[in-house]
Assembly symmetry: C2
């Protein structure tokens, strides 16, 4: 059983402080993310992910626009969202933007579709938080249809129907690479398995060992649905310095306020 572990990094484009404790502009924070993505490619990181938020403390609300700027300056690194809040976006637009990123990066785009851990996007885009589950379920269902890149026939309660329309641009591989981001609900794990989509597990605070049962559930569910094994990834906040002690000292002032300058995710696939 071959296992390949890939190392990725992700960020929300946090608004950092300059040398005098003054917050940088959103624009500067975005340019810093682009520079980090380019550097990550140069030093051999496998994946760079950018989150989607709609808050003043995070500069990135449109991950794929940031990723496209990184795409044309990099050669190897895979570029993805971490995560795309599918529930409050339109699956057709998301597919179009990532297919365009896939073109710009010559096949390195990876979408991670999730429900998001913040809720600002729902009122901003006119979606009812009470339909949180229905919105994600229906939109993921449509997204899986879009992945076939043919004529789409779909109808639901959360979006206008598609009646034989096609969506452009199409990708060179015939489909986008898509993950489902899961926070720890067994139903979400089983749903990802039902579509045979790779699983990205967000481990935000707890002991990673506590999440092992979700991995077992995912593998079991894939087998039950008759699907092949799929890649599994985990995301976890992290901070790297020369020594453990230095890392702790540098990170602590931010961590205690609930802020992390960047996050680290690892994904392993067999």
């Amino acid at each position: 059983m071959d296992q390949v572990v890939e190392l990725g990094m992700d960020t929300f484009g946090d608004v950092t402080e300059d040398g005098h404790g003054v917050p940088v502009s959103h624009a500067q924070a975005i340019r810093d993310v682009i520079a980090e993505g380019i550097l990550a490619d140069e030093v051999g990181v496998d994946f760079f992910g950018v989150g989607e938020h709609h808050r003043p403390d995070f500069s990135v609300s449109s991950p794929e626009t940031v990723l496209a700027a990184i795409a044309s300056r990099t050669r190897h690194i895979h570029l993805g969202s971490a995560v795309t809040v599918l529930s409050s976006d339109d699956p057709v637009r998301v597919y179009q933007r990532f297919a365009t990123l896939d073109a710009a990066s010559a096949g390195r785009a990876e979408v991670i579709l999730g429900r998001g851990s913040f809720t600002e996007s729902f009122p901003l885009f006119g979606f009812d938080l009470e339909r949180y589950d229905e919105l994600f379920e229906e939109k993921l269902n449509l997204f899986v249809e879009l992945m076939k890149e043919g004529e789409v026939n779909w109808s639901g309660a959360t979006r206008a129907p598609l009646d034989g329309q096609r969506v452009f641009p199409t990708t060179e591989a015939g489909s986008l690479k898509v993950w489902v981001g899961v926070g720890g609900s067994p139903e979400s794990v089983v749903r990802a398995a039902s579509y045979s989509l790779p699983l990205m597990l967000a481990i935000i605070g707890a002991d990673p060992a506590r999440f092992a049962p979700y991995i077992e559930l995912y593998r079991h569910a894939l087998a039950e649905f008759g699907h092949q094994a799929q890649p599994i990834g985990i995301h976890s906040p992290g901070y790297i310095a020369e020594t453990d002690e230095q890392a702790r000292e540098e990170l602590w002032p931010y961590f205690k306020e609930g802020r992390t300058a960047s996050a680290l995710s690892v994904d392993g696939r067999r």
Copy 2:
């Protein structure tokens, strides 16, 4: 009265043919557009515009994703949509994507908001073509509110209301640079003037001299509304070769089928 004329180019990311008459992939057409944008910057073109379409013969449905890939490889050229079909998009998302492009390009983003000359996007995104005018009018109204980059209070019939929300990222200049694309309706010209927004006139087929009255109307309306003079641009299909004869011969086989490999736009501002 100082006048500065800037020269721009725009493209819809037309699916071209390779040396054997075989259409290139959407992905290749997108990469070609990115290469053209980078070359345009190198040779000193002032503006590069990318259109939005949802058809198999044009590769670009997400102009700002393409433009972001160009942004990080260029220094001077201004980057815009030509046009963004605002009627079938969400103004908040459009603002976010272009503010992100503006960050990536250090202030070179320019949105051209229009109604589009094709109609595919309406059923694709669930908008009623019978509300063509209302959709553009309301969404332009919201976009002008978003340009203030403060708390937005807005309500209308075509989109969920905003109740004191802010939209991120914000731009370094305090607002995006925005044009209104107009195809030749006097009402559209007056509407652009009422918001004091620069005018981009699309001259697709007729003698440019026939459009002079729209320019006069625009200047007159600006004055009537008490606004200062604003930049005026024109877009027109074009093709450049070493000689006029060569240009005619090279372009004709495509032009007679209604296809143009690229288009040229010029904008002049005083």
